[in-house]
Symmetry: none
Subunit: 213 residues, 4 copies
DNA sequence: AATGAATGAGGTTTCATTCAT
DNA sequence: CATGAATGAAACCTCATTCAT
C-alpha cells in the first residue's frame, strides 16, 4: 500500500486514534466471538500494522481504549438522563441501564476481555491513567444522580457495575444457547441476563438505599 | 527425562490430572502476574509436554479445570459450614466468603482470566459440561444454605458470586498498589476489596431477603 | 483392552504378522490418500500399539512388508501365466500387467511411498534382506518368461518395473482429477496412466528385444 | 538474532526464496540421509523460523520448490544444448542426461521424496500449479528437441523421465553400498545406475523413434 | 510518520517409539 | 507376550511486536 497521508497535528492524531478504534469496534461487532488480530484491525482501518503502534503501545492498550470509550458513552448517557427534569426512580435507572446494554452489545464482552487481560500486559502507567480517568468520570455520574437519589454513593455505583459485569460473566449466553442464537440472529443480550440483572440491581439498590436511610 | 510411573487405572489418571493442576497452581501463585506456558507446567509436573495433552485437550481446558477446582473448594466449604449446627447470619456468610477468598488467592484472578477466555477458545461441549457441573454443585450449596436462610434462592447466590467477581475486577489491586504490594508481600486480597465486598453483599442480601419477606 | 491371546509358536507369529498387514492394507484401501498411523493400524488389527513393535521394528518396516507382499503377488501372477501353455506376445504381457495393476490398486501408491521412505528410516540389514529376496524372486520371473521371450533379461524386467513406477509418479491422478474422481468413484488407475504405460512398455520391449536380435 | 535486511520489492522476495532453497539444498547435500527440519533450514538461511512461512506455506511446499528448481535446471540445460548447432543423436542425449544427473546429485533423491510426499500433505492448488508449470516447461523442451529428433513426442520425454526416476528407485545405491560409499566419498550416482539407465533409454528411444518411422 | 517484512515465542498437534506394568 | 501411558521431536500456525526502509 502506498503511504497514507500523515497525521501531524495533535487533532489529526486523535482523529486517527478514533479511526482505529472504530475499525476495531466494527470488526468486533461483525463477529463478537473472536477478537480480531492486529493485522485485521490495521487493514480495516486502512493502515499498516506498524502504524497502529504509533497510536497504541500494545494491542491491550487498544482494547482498553475501546473499553474506555464504551464506559464514557455509558457514563455520559446516565449523566444526560439525570440532568433532565423528569424525576428518576430505581426502575428508571434499571431501564436506562438495560437500554444502554442493548444499544452497545460490545460493551460487556469487551469489558470482560479487558479485565481478563489487565492481569497481564498493560503497563502500570497506562492502567493507572485509565483508572484515574474512570473514577473522575464516575464522580460526575454520582454527582448527577444524587439529584434523584440523595443517598447514592460511589460505592453503590461500583457495586452496580460489578453486578452488571459479574452477572454477565456468569449468565452470559451459554455456548449452546449461543449456537441456537447465531442461527436465529437473536440479540446477544438475552432476556435471561437482563431480567436477572434487573432483579439483582433492584435488590442491591433497595438494600443499599434503605440502609443508609 | 526418563519415563515416569504410569497412571493405569482411572483413579490414577484422575490423580495425575490433579498433579498437573497442582503444578499449574503452584506456578500461578509463584508469579500471579503471568500465566506459565505449557512447557513450564509440564516441567513443574515432572511430565512431558505431550503428556499434558493426554489429560487436557488445550491450555484453556486446563485453566478451566483449575477454576472448577476452586469453585468446588469454595462450594464445598460453604456446604460444610452450612451443615454445622451453629446458626448462620448474613455476617457469618460474609465472614466465610472473606476467609475463603484469602485462603485461595488464585481464585479471583483465575476466574477473571477464565471468563475472559471463555470468549474464545473453549469448545462448546467442554464449556457446556462445565456449566452443567457448576450449576449442579450450586444447587447443593443453595439447598444447604436454605436451612439458615429460608428465603435464599439460587438467583441470590449467583448475584453474590457476580458481586464477588465483578467487584474484584473493578477494585482489584491497582497496578501501582500491586507494585508496592509485591515488594512487601501483602496479601493480594486487599482490605479495600474485602471491605467493599462486605458492604455490597450486606446490601444485596438485605435487599433480597427482605424483599420476599 | 484385555490382553489378547498370545502367539507363541513361529507359525502363529507369522500368522499375526499377516493379520497386521491385512489390517494395514484394509485401511490403505479405505483411504489411499493417507497413510494410517500406527494407532489406527493396531486398532484395525485388534492389537495394542506396542504389540505391533513385536512384529515390525518400525512403521517403515511394516510398510516395506506390505510392499513386498504386493511384489510377490505380482511376480507370482506373472510366473503362473508364463507357466501356462498359451504363448505370450508383448501385448499379452502388457495386458497381464494392466490387469494386475487394476486388481491391486494399493500397489503403486505404496511402492512410491516406500521408495520415498527408503531414503530414510530403514535399517541397513532390513533393506538389504528385502533387496535380496526381491532379486531372487525376480530371477524366477525372468526364468519363467524366457520360455516366451528368449531375449528377455533381468535388465528389461527392471526397466519395465521402472517405467511402471516412474510413469505412475509422473502421471498419477492429478489432484484436480483426483477430486473429481473421488466424487464419482472412478478407479484410481486411470486410463491415462494405463494407456501411457502400454505405449511405453511396447516401445521399450520392442527396442530392447529387437536390439539383441 | 538481529533483524535481517528486508526483501521489499518482488525481485528481492524471489531472491530470498532462492536463498532459502539454497540453504535447504546445502543441508540436504551435507547429509543426504536425513531431511533437515524447518528450524535448521531457517538457521542455515540466516532467517527466523517464522520467516520461512512467509515464503513457503509448508515444509512440503519448500521441498516441492527445490524439486521444481532441479527440474527447471534440467529442462533448461536440455533446451540449451538442443539450441546449439551441433546435431544430436540418442547417445548425445544420454550423455547429456548422465552429466546432468552427476552434476545435480540431490535431484533424484529429492524427486523420489517429493513423489512420496505428494501422496499426502500438498494442497490441491499448489500441486496443480506445479504440474501446470512443469508441463509448460516440458513443452519447450520437446519443441527444442524436435529439431534433432523429428519424431520425438512429449510422451517419449515423460517415458524417459519415468525411466530415470523409476530405475533410480530400483537401483539406487543399496544401503550397504551406501555405507561403503559414504566412507569413500564416492559419487551417489553409481555407475550401476547410470549404465542401466543408458541401456534402458537407448532401448526405449530406439523402440519409440523407430515405431513411428 | 508510515510501512510491512522479519522476528520469535509459544500454543497446538501428531505420532513413531519406548518401557513399566 | 501384550498393553497403552508416556515420551519428545518436530511440524504447524498464529501473532504481537520490532525496526530497517
Amino acid at each position: 500500500m502506498s503511504q497514507h497521508c500523515r497525521a501531524t497535528c495533535p487533532e489529526e492524531k486523535e482523529q486517527r486514534r478514533h479511526l482505529i478504534l472504530d475499525a476495531a469496534e466494527r470488526l468486533w461487532l461483525d463477529d463478537p466471538e473472536r477478537m480480531a488480530n492486529i493485522a485485521e484491525i490495521a487493514q480495516a482501518a486502512g493502515l499498516a500494522k506498524g502504524t497502529l503502534y504509533l497510536y497504541f503501545r500494545s494491542k491491550e492498550e487498544l482494547l482498553l481504549a475501546m473499553h474506555e470509550r464504551h464506559n464514557s458513552l455509558f457514563f455520559d448517557s446516565v449523566i444526560q438522563r439525570a440532568g433532565q427534569d423528569a424525576p428518576m426512580a430505581i426502575e428508571d435507572m434499571i431501564g436506562l441501564i438495560r437500554g444502554l446494554l442493548i444499544a452497545t452489545p460490545a460493551f460487556l464482552p469487551l469489558a470482560t476481555l479487558c479485565h481478563g487481560l489487565m492481569e497481564r500486559h498493560i503497563s502500570l502507567e497506562i492502567a493507572y491513567a485509565f483508572e484515574e480517568r474512570t473514577h473522575a468520570h464516575l464522580d460526575l455520574v454520582v454527582a448527577a444522580l444524587q439529584r434523584h437519589f440523595p443517598l447514592l454513593t460511589q460505592a453503590l455505583m461500583l457495586q452496580s457495575y460489578a453486578l452488571i459485569l459479574g452477572l454477565w460473566q456468569l449468565l452470559r449466553p451459554s455456548p449452546l444457547k449461543e449456537l441456537m442464537r447465531q442461527r436465529e440472529l437473536v440479540c446477544a443480550c438475552t432476556d435471561d441476563y437482563l431480567n436477572a440483572l434487573g432483579l439483582a440491581l433492584r435488590a442491591l439498590w433497595r438494600g443499599a438505599l434503605s440502609t443508609e436511610g
